[in-house]
Structures are given as C-alpha cells and as structure tokens.
Amino acid sequence: MTSKYWFEIKEGLKISLNAIKSNKIRSVLTTMGIIIGIWAVVTMSTAIKGIDLAFQTGVSALGSDNLYIDKWAWFNNDVPWWKMRNRKNISMKDFKKYKSLAKLPAAVAPSILTRQAVKTKDESIDFVFVVGTTADYIHTTNLTFNQGRFLSELESQGSRNVTVLGSEIAAKLFPAGNALNNFVRIKGHKFKVVGILDKQGSWVLGNFNPDKQVFVPIGTVFKHFQKESFGSLTINVKSPNSQLVPAVTEEALGIMRKVRGLSYNEENDFAINRQDGLLSQINSTVSVIQIAGFFITGLSLFVGAIGIMNIMFVSVKERTKEIGIRKAIGAKRRTILGQFITEASFLCLLGGLGGLIFAVITSLIINKFLPTSIQYQAVLLAVLISLITGILSGLAPALTAAKMDPVEALRYE
C-alpha cells in the first residue's frame, strides 16, 4: 500500500513540476515571501550562533572563573549609581590587605584603567585602554602571547616603563610587525614593548576586549598618568576552579568588609562582579534580536503562505477541467488532495531552497565579523518550515479541488 502512495506522490511531483515550469514568473513572485522568511530565519540563527561563539571564546580568554572586586557593580543596578559614586575608592592599600588575607584564590592582581594616546614615530591611536596592573595579572587570565612575555615581577614592582600590547594595537602601531623591543609613547612617556598578545577576544566584548588594550605596570600609571587617589582599582581574583567560585566570593566578601572597615549594619561599599553579568547582558540583547527576528520571519512566512494559498486557488480554478478528467478516470478525493498539497509544498520547498541560497551568501558576509557558518539545524528547520507552510497553505485550495463534482468539472471550459 505504501508503494501506491509513493506513485501518487511521484505523480503529484511531476504535475507540480510541470505547473511550475509553465508559470515561471508567477511561481517566483509567489514564493518571494517564503524566500524572505527562510532567509531571515537562517541568517538570524547563524548570526546569533556567531555572537554566542564570539562571546564564549572571548570570555575564556579573559578567564572564566574570575571575580572582579570593584567600587562599581557592573551589571546589577540594585544600588543607585550616585551611591556607588560616593563610595571610597579601592586603593592599592586595600588590594594589598586583601591579597595578604585571601587564602583561596589562585591569583589576584589589581588593575586600573585609563585612556591614553599611544604613539610611535609614525602611528598614533587616541583613547587606548591602558591597563595598569602587576605581573600576577597574567595568572588571572588565559591570555596567550604572539611574541615576548607579560610584565615581570621586577618590572611591575619597580614601575619600569615597559608595556604589553593587545594584538590590534600592535598591528596598528607596528604594521611591519616589529613591535617587540621597540618603543611606544604613552602620554608622551617612552615605554618598551616586551610582549604582544595573540588575537584573543572579539568585538562583542566591547571594552573588555584585550585586543584593544595596552598593559603597563600599575606604578607607572600613578607616576605618569593619574594620581593614585584619583581612580579606583579593580581587584582581579582567579578562583582555582569553578566549584570554588562561591567560596572565593564568600571569602572576598568577608575580607573586603574588614578591609573597608564596615561594621555589621553597614552595606557593602564595593561590589563583587562576575562575567555572568556580561553573559546575561548579551543574552538579553540576543533575545531582543531573536524576538524581532521571529516576528519578521513569522510575518513574511505568513504573507508568503497567503500568496501560495492564493496562487493555489487560481491554479485549482484554472485546472478545473483537468481535475474533472482525473476524477472521471478514477482519481479519488484523497489523490487530488494530495496532488495539490504536493504542489503547494513543492513550491514552498523551492522558495525555501532559494532562501537558503541567499542565507548562505549572507552568512559568508557575516563570517567577516563573527566566527560562524550556517548551522545544519537551521537548514533542517528551514526545510521543515517551508514544507509545513506549503502543506498548510495548500490545504484549503486542495480541499476545494478534491470536493469538485466530476460532472461539473468536466463541463467547465
């Protein structure tokens, strides 16, 4: 019995192919909605996957089991900003006390962020994120080096004028690739380049992207760029593993309250930040894109489905006589129903394939910004969606065809 259905499907396909061939322009115009819909759904899922991937790799470069003790809460806004602004800065003294008391962390390092112009003889970049830190900083991250090394213990303690460049900064300042052991000027002060990072992050990380940062000993920041009392530090804390993150957080809370001299009834005047915050922020952005995308996709598929339905009604009307002939020589209702549903599905499937082709082209363009390619799940989804759209939009016209009275249909001219 299954072989019988197979014949009918095959016959249906042959008929649809003929019908589509004889109405080429009409078919293309009709499937436009489906083409756009499928293009949107595939492109969107590809882009979202790309953002996700870019974020994952970026975060792993920054270090995934990290805490950041800061005056500011990065993501949660429970405390009003003016209250945070009025908090005492986190000072080197605070950091040193914390470091001496903390037992659990694998590594801790202070960091302070300033924005400075960085120049060579020929090149210049304004507002580079200059991170002042210590040699331990490298142990709180997973940064890898293209050339050279990170700041040494001696250099950071002695506040030597040495620097490590992020990959994009190095590429811009030294197009010839001869950065190592060369010199840059940061706010007019000469710094020797001791290391260049590999390309790490991605633009999705924004200011956290180490590719666009420059690292110097923290002492040189206080010496050359800004007074120690002017800025507040971030204390980078690396937990030995992810299981210990809550314990490290608890410990940090206790120590920091002590360091900051808070009594039991005072609120924390610092925040312990995690990258999860960044994740949830990106996720919320992604979900907005997703909702908008699904809305657009749904709308264009809906319009597409109406187009297909319309053209199928026309097709049924045009082929009334043919339906009559087929019925007269023994086509059952189910067969006619199947024929027109097959035709609608086939039309939609072609539209879906068209959309996929456009999506592949688009993904090649997206690939320039995000590390991604078309997901096979997306392809499967596209095919499935276009099939379902075809079946749904073909249903009503096919039913009209199936219910036709053979006598009337044969008489139709």
Partner: protein, 239 residues
C-alpha cells in the same frame, strides 16, 4: 449476464427554487458484449443517464446495479474506484491532459489503480499500439490530429480492461471520414468482446450499434433492435 441493471431511476436537480426532473423513471438492462446507442434530443436526459451509467453521478431515486454491485449507494471513493477499474470513458472533446504525452495520458488510469511503473508503461504502450498509434507514444495532444487524439482517449479507456466503454458523442468533434474511422475502431472493439454504450444525437452514428434506446423528457420512448446496422470500414489514412 447483465452488466447493467437499472430500476426506476430518477434524477432530480434543484435549480434555484425549481425542481428539474432530468430523469423521471428509467429502467433498463444491458448485457455483456452489447453495443447500445442512447439517443435523444437535448434536454431528453441522455447526458444525465450517461453520467449515472458512468458512475460520475448517482440517481436520486431507484437502484443501479453494476455487475452485481449497488452503485446507487456508493460513496465518492467507491465510485472513483469503479470508474477507474470498470469503466472506460471516451468524450466528445477527447479530454486528454494537454501537457502530457500520449503514453502518459494512457498510463494515468493505471497510476490511479496503483500499478508499478514498468507494468503500466507496457500496458499503455500496448493499448496505443492496439488503436494504431504505436508510433505516436511521445506526442503531446496538440501534436496529434483530432482522430489521433480520440484514439489516445480510446486507448486510455481500454487500458484498464473495463467492463463497459462509455462513449459520449465520440465523433462530434471530428470530420465524417475520421469519425468513420473511430466508429470502425468501436466496431472492432465490439467484435473483440467489449461492451459499448454510445451516447449520440446523430441517427447515422447510432445505427452503428445493435440496439438503440431513445429518450425523451426523462423517459424511455423506445428501445429497439437495429435491423440494418451500418458496418463501418476503415478509411485509408486520415486527413
């Protein structure tokens, strides 16, 4: 044995508020290997009778027994199966699928019968050879002459080896010479044992049959045996 047995059938159409009695009370029997012509002026109910005989329509009243099966109580799908396997239609306007070639047109009833493709092709080919179109298998209807198209239609009617062949004005769209050819083909099919029911309004065409049933105003006016049957001859070539 009777292939067709109809008993007091009537067909009433509702046109607006009016009832139209297309068939009032018709009873008749047709035996295997009969060659019957149904005649009548327009409005006599002959088309309605043909539709009922061809299982395209069911009577409002009365019983229609088609080789033992009560057709008047069948649903759409059962009727479709009967049309597919036991009735071969030949129409005045040929009613071929315009975009399909001769072979595929003849194959169509076999597709609906669910035959495997190789068997289908073989049977369709043979049917076309039988009607003298062995060299026109891949021609589309618009590449064939009127007579050839009607032969394709006859091949399509024959391919399922039906119990009856129902021909509705088969020569109506053909010139007389070609029409004669088609009638010769029917004669040959009758000789080979087929049961043929011919619907026509032309006396001359009807006289090819062995029996003429004359309808008027939805009733059988006369059911007679043809004394001087016309035995058609194949004309050499066409057009």
């Amino acid at each position: 044995m009777n292939i067709i047995h109809i008993e007091h059938i009537a067909k009433i159409y509702q046109v607006g508020t009016e009832e139209v009695h297309a068939l009032k009370d018709v009873s008749l029997d047709i035996e295997k290997n009969e060659y019957v012509a149904i005649m009548g002026p327009s409005g006599s109910g002959k088309s309605t009778l043909m539709n009922i005989l061809g299982c395209l329509d069911t009577p409002t009243k009365g019983a229609y027994i088609f080789s033992g099966d009560n057709v008047s109580e069948m649903d759409d799908n059962e009727l479709a199966a009967i049309r597919n396997k036991r009735i071969g239609f030949v129409f005045q306007t040929f009613n071929l699928l315009p975009r399909s070639n001769a072979l595929h047109n003849v194959e169509l009833p076999l597709i609906y019968a669910g035959l495997p493709s190789s068997e289908r092709r073989e049977k369709a080919k043979q049917a076309l050879i039988d009607v003298g179109l062995g060299d026109r298998l891949t021609h589309k209807p618009n590449e064939l002459s009127g007579g050839q198209r009607q032969r394709v239609a006859i091949a399509r009617a024959l391919v399922t080896n039906p119990s009856i062949i129902l021909a509705d004005e088969p020569t109506g769209n053909l010139d007389s010479k070609t029409g004669e050819d088609i009638m010769a083909l029917f004669h040959e099919l009758h000789q080979r044992g087929h049961t043929i029911i011919l619907v026509t309004h032309e006396e001359y065409i009807a006289e090819h049959a062995a029996r003429i049933i004359r309808l008027r105003d939805g009733l059988i006016e006369k059911d007679e045996v043809v004394n001087k049957r016309i035995i058609p001859q194949f004309q050499n070539g066409e057009e």
